[in-house]
């Protein structure tokens, strides 16, 4: 065989999906290269959350395939997809508030039977996020929204995922806190994590990311590097239905 570039971490090919009678996604195709942060943005109703549900297996696509490093992922159960190495940090806070931070992170490795491995992974996670280690005995519910996000990131790392899905990590966070959360996301990426991010704060999300995808009404309308997408003249049209003039 001739040399071939390795399969992307995640490949979406012609995804059609929806609820009831309508299709929310109408043929979505893009790749997430290994080691990258790829960010999906778009106005409300573009289909961003539906896309996340398809990748994590909560919604079966009506057409098209999702592959992870060349292996078919679509059609499998959420549990099987998790086992393949896709971990999602959901939009709403998902920690068990009455459990300690350590217990929450421990749960991130619940599919691992080897306790020694769990302890080893936890140490590695604490090395990466030393501040999380400081909170380990606190109840998760006592942490601020931004702190809880970091614990959720730490928990996601327990399985050494091959792909991390971040669904609206900025939700409900102030710009200052958001910065620390995005710094943490960047640190995970520097450490090798491949990430697909869906983000409402398009500007912050695209600046964080290597690749940007703008969805609108169920299809990909723009893609390129994060900066190319952000500076693309058409982005105003996609968000506001009009070409945006610079007022400065």
């Amino acid at each position: 065989m001739t040399a071939q570039s390795a399969a992307p971490a995640l490949a979406l090919d012609g995804i059609v999906a929806g609820y009831g009678g309508g299709d929310v996604l109408r043929g979505v195709t893009f790749d997430v290269p290994e080691g990258s942060i790829t960010c999906v943005v778009g106005p409300n109703g573009a289909g961003k959350s539906t896309l996340m549900r398809v990748i994590s297996g909560l919604l079966r696509p009506r057409a098209g395939t999702v592959t992870l490093f060349g292996e078919k992922l679509s059609g499998r159960s959420p549990r099987a997809i998790l086992k393949m190495g896709v971990v999602q940090v959901p939009q709403n806070h998902s920690l068990f508030k009455d459990m300690t931070v350590r217990e929450n992170i421990d749960l991130g490795g619940y599919t691992l039977s080897d306790r020694a491995l769990v302890t080893k992974r936890m140490d590695a996670v604490f090395d990466m996020f030393p501040q999380v280690k400081d909170w380990e005995r606190m109840k998760a519910g006592e942490l601020s929204g931004g702190q809880q996000r970091l614990v959720e990131f730490a928990r996601a790392l327990m399985l050494e995922p091959r792909l991390i899905l971040l669904d609206e990590p900025s939700m409900g966070l102030s710009p200052m806190v958001l910065r620390s959360v995005f710094d943490a996301a960047r640190a995970m990426n520097d450490n090798g994590a491949t990430m697909l991010l869906v983000e409402q704060n398009a500007r912050a999300g695209l600046k964080l990311s290597h690749h940007g995808v703008v969805m609108e009404n169920g299809i990909v309308r723009l893609s390129g590097t994060g900066r190319e997408v952000l500076e693309h003249p058409e982005i105003g049209e996609l968000y506001l239905g009009g070409a945006v003039k610079s007022s400065s």
Partner: protein
């Protein structure tokens, strides 16, 4: 011309979060005004303040040049402001027509028991209800349970429901949200028709095509304050508006 509905310097916090931070809007009589802004910018909270579901910490609501601030929802409704909700609120286990008759009861308070049970009043209410159902286009579903309607049909029922009381201003919270394109056009058409008969509207909506096509003026909220206001053609090309939608820049590069 003074505005039929207007708010001044509305502030409202939930815990430490400033949902509204000085929001001021004006809705001229006989217009369809739009209220847009990114998620969490305070649109629904402003609706709730206007309609008495939330008390503002500061600021005033004026309707027809009278102060309406802090009036209870039923008083606001009686004053002539009707509203629909983002997630429809109907009685799922009553029929469509029964839902309409419930609306009629809250409107026509009985002068005496005879009037309440009177045959004339009853037939009048039924006829009026059927006319409104016909107007929105769901009269053939009059006898089915409201809970069995599609989401779009529920939105139409809510519109008909609000029309029973014949309010002067109707606040619509995402009338096109989650509705298929054909029905979106139908809803826009019904709003235009009502407007041509003199009804005033304030519409919160994320569907830009819908809002830009329907409204004569649009106010853009960002972080609970007005970022811009004007006709659609100016709003859709306003850099401040796009900035509001694309979100805060985390790496302010001072130039």
């Amino acid at each position: 011309m003074t505005a039929l509905l207007r708010t001044e310097g509305i502030k409202k916090s939930f815990g430490g979060v400033h949902a509204l931070n000085g929001a001021a809007i004006e809705v001229e009589e006989g217009t369809v005004a739009g209220l847009i802004g990114p998620n969490g910018s305070g649109k629904t909270t402003l609706f709730n303040v206007i309609t008495g579901y939330e008390r503002p910490d500061e600021g005033q609501v004026y309707f027809d040049d009278r102060v309406l601030t802090n009036a209870a929802p039923d008083k606001v409704f009686a004053a002539g402001i009707g509203r629909t909700f983002q997630l429809t609120r109907i009685f799922a286990r009553l029929t469509v027509l029964e839902n309409m008759l419930v609306a009629a009861q809250t409107k026509d308070r009985p002068r005496n028991l005879l009037a309440w049970f009177g045959r004339d009043a009853w037939t009048h209410q039924r006829r009026h209800a059927m006319e409104l159902l016909q107007f929105v286009g769901i009269e053939r579903h009059a006898d089915v349970l409201a809970g069995s309607l599609s989401y779009g049909q529920r939105k139409l029922l809510e519109l008909a429901y609000v029309l029973v009381a014949d309010p002067r201003v109707i606040l619509l919270d995402e009338p096109a949200g989650g509705v298929n394109p054909t029905l979106v056009n139908h809803i826009a058409d019904r709003i235009r028709e009502l407007n041509s008969r003199g009804k005033t509207f304030l519409v919160v909506e994320h569907n830009m095509e819908f809002v830009m096509g329907l409204c004569s003026t649009i106010t853009v909220l960002e972080s609970g304050a007005v970022a811009a206001s004007g006709p659609p053609q100016l709003i859709r090309t306003d850099k401040r508006v796009l900035d509001a939608y694309l979100g805060a820049d985390l790496e302010e590069d001072p130039r």
